[in-house]
Symmetry: C2
DNA sequence: ACTTACCGTAAGTAATAACTTACGATGAGT
DNA sequence: ACTCATCGTAAGTTATTACTTACGGTAAGT
């Protein structure tokens, strides 16, 4: 999917991943997300913009505040990409181990 | 896991992700990986070093060449991190949809 | 209407990173 | 011993980016 590129790039930054993790328990307004973080609130806004562009979060207006929530689309894109390697990598790894055991004989 | 940080950072770069994808079909020496890529071979070596540090690839010496293969550890760390959100995000999304359907009545 | 709370964006800065070329080291073949 | 192939690392450059402060805009409350 088109989200794969942006999703990986977005979650690369530790601060941005922390922002994302704060939404795991449920939707939150920007101020709540930024509370206690070592960066300023505008920085959090910029991170949220990047996450939104990657299909990782959605935002809705609620009065004067903006509530963000996790968007499954970006998550799904990353999962699909990972699954592309999962089986192959495991079987290859298994074959690799057996190969090394042969050397032990 | 400790690999989570480095794994996300490693796969953020498109070139590096391409390098990683070339190992999907099986182990390859550096020269084979770099063949046809728009970057130099030393650049590929540097990418492989980053991938190795993230637990995404392993390397073994085979004569004068170095064969790289996909390491399931980094892949597993990312999958575990993703699964941490997967169920919650889906159920939250479902609740969100139902909430909006209520508005349609 | 005025103030306050909440938020996104613009501009500028400092740190990071992806890339290049140059070089050195090791193993295979003659 | 010599040459060639393969690869990792060092040094330097350029582009990207994460952050700050400053500002403007909208909604709610009095």
């Amino acid at each position: 999917m088109a989200y794969t590129n942006a999703a990986f790039a977005a979650l690369a930054d530790p601060t941005r991943r922390t922002v994302f993790e704060r939404l795991a328990s449920g939707p939150l307004p920007v101020g709540e997300i930024a509370r206690g973080l070592p960066v300023s609130r505008p920085a959090v806004s910029q991170h949220l913009k990047a996450l939104k562009g990657a299909g990782l979060v959605t935002d809705r207006a609620e009065g004067t505040r903006r509530v963000y929530a996790i968007d499954p689309r970006g998550l799904g894109a990353m999962r699909a990409w990972l699954d592309q390697f999962w089986d192959g990598a495991l079987s290859a790894f298994r074959a690799e181990v057996e190969q090394e055991h042969k050397h032990d004989d």
